[in-house]
Amino acid sequence: MEQRRKERLDRGIKVRSDGLYALMSWRELSYLTLPRLVLIIGMLMLPFLMPNSYWQRVISIVCLYALLALSFDFLAHFLGLVSLGGAFFIGVGGYLSAIMNTSLGLPPFMAIPLATLLGAGICTLFLLPCLPLRGVYFAIVTLMYPLALARVIEAMDLFGGTDGVLGVDSFPNPWVEQYFVIAMVFLFMFGTRRLVNTDLGLVLRAVKDNDQAVKASGMSITYYKAIAVFIASAMGCLSGACLVHIYMWAGISLFALDFSILPIAATVIGGGGTLVGPVLGCFILVPISELLREFGTLRIVFYSLVLMAFIVFRSEGIMVYGERKYHQFERWVKV
């Protein structure tokens, strides 16, 4: 009987370019760096390619979602925590920056970094109780916070209540706005990528794999999870802080579901665990969502369905699939 099975093998060039030898030939060098260059140059060119200021604004929004998606991907695939509350980070960062700007009179470029750090601290503190545990707790708590916070703000009429904080300063001009957020996406994308390959990143992954052994090695898993949550919420808060300065307004809609579900959808479509995938996913999803703006909440139905389809039928996502095809080939072998 003829029996066959599929086998996956690394391409020779990948094996060689993993080592230092890559520097020896242009072919191998370009094999390594070309994909990255295409991405960087492509993103830097984007604001020029957009037809009008509306679409330029869309690019900024894409980048903000990309930051959120990075934060989701980082937490989910390098720490094993599923955050269903991107809106929580956005809301905290956004409100903080808006208040600092309007009440304390700080200019945007002071308010944004401060709101990022302070907001990340607050979010980490709020999420601290569920960090020692594995499982669905983190997902549940992050799902609840934005809903509950929105209720509290509404009920107690805090920060302008349903009207929100008005009169927030905008960025000096659209170009600054766009290149600032694009730079932030680069910073955090390559930053987290570098981070997960350091020894600290290794420890974080170990926490995901096997927290008992980490404990037995004399390390507090809560501490390391807190570090990672801080980094992730900093990304989210930064995104929220930028958002209020783009829209010049902070309100309860910062806690809206869009901010929670779209980054997840983008990550799943783009390929979780790659850190580039989520950014790519945002570049696909956000423009589509802009086109669907007039349909109202149907957009959310749309993301949910896309998300579901991807998770069920192609759970690895575009990037993982692409990377595999790039680095490996498959062949049928006879047994």
Binding site: L202, R205, K215, A216, G218, M219
Partner: protein, 263 residues
């Protein structure tokens, strides 16, 4: 033995799961630099002792003293940080990582940074190199590809060594080995035994929980016997072997019918 003082004192620890006593007021001393074996039938509470000492579960009552300091109730990572490390009965390597990368993680811990890791004189070099050094000490062939293989592809014998290596990376004072011999072939055990003896020579106190009596008795200085969550007896291997109670509880008589009624 040069030093007879108790490095670890376990004082009447009790652990109840639901209504059942897994440990019932167990007390014993561990002397510095010795190898203490703990034996007993399944379900007699051996692993529970390890879990209680290392803080992986909270004991219902009782105290544990380390160098005379009360460490009961401290979280697991604090206890490990003091130098009391353990292996797991069901091995827990980081499966997706190569073997040597498994050691980068414990080498990252505060204790390893303080002590310089295994044999380190206070400063820790590149963690990858130190990791490979430790693996070599523990019996991975340095020049082969074994230390670079993903932990998920390693056979049981190597994984057990990896568990020990993880402990060693912390430069521990005490290692609690939870059934390091179980699941190994005769020849693998034979190569593990000198390893354990080496640990003792390096001044590490070892507590071993075992089923494999013959091998344990070769290395252990003292043996404690557990049964139904209680300490039955302790003494040198010869004393324990001679004890009538131990024979009855652990080896049983040949009459099956008698056993059926006793259980």
């Amino acid at each position: 033995m040069k030093n007879d003082q108790a490095i670890l004192r376990i004082d009447h620890i009790t652990k109840a799961f639901g209504g059942i006593l897994a440990l019932n007021s167990v007390s014993f001393d561990v002397r510095k630099g010795e190898i203490l074996g703990i034996i007993g039938p399944n379900g007699s509470g051996k692993t529970t002792i390890v879990n209680c000492i290392t803080g992986f579960i909270k004991m219902t009552s009782g105290k544990v003293f380390f160098h005379g300091r009360d460490i009961s109730g401290k979280p697991a990572h604090k206890i490990a940080d003091m130098g009391i490390t353990r292996t797991f009965q069901i091995m827990r390597p980081y499966y997706s990582l190569p073997a040597y990368k498994n050691l980068v993680i414990p080498l990252f811990s505060p204790r390893a940074k303080r002590t310089g890791g295994w044999r380190g004189g206070g400063q820790l070099g590149d963690r990858n190199t130190v990791g490979i050094d430790i693996l070599e000490e523990i019996g991975f062939e340095r020049d082969s590809y074994v230390p670079y293989k993903a932990a998920s592809t390693l056979p049981t014998g190597y994984l057990k060594r990896l568990e020990l290596a993880r402990c060693l990376a912390l430069k521990p004072e005490i290692i609690l080995c939870d059934e390091v011999f179980s699941g190994l072939s005769m020849s693998e055990i034979a190569s593990m035994v000198p390893l354990i003896e080496r640990l003792q020579m390096d001044g590490i106190t070892v507590i071993m929980i075992e089923h494999r009596l013959r091998e344990l008795f070769r290395v252990a200085n003292r043996v404690m016997v557990m049964n139904f969550g209680e300490k039955l007896t302790e003494g040198t291997p010869d004393e324990v072997m001679a004890d009538e109670k131990v024979k009855e509880a652990y080896f049983g008589s040949e009459e099956v019918e008698e056993v059926m009624t006793y259980a």
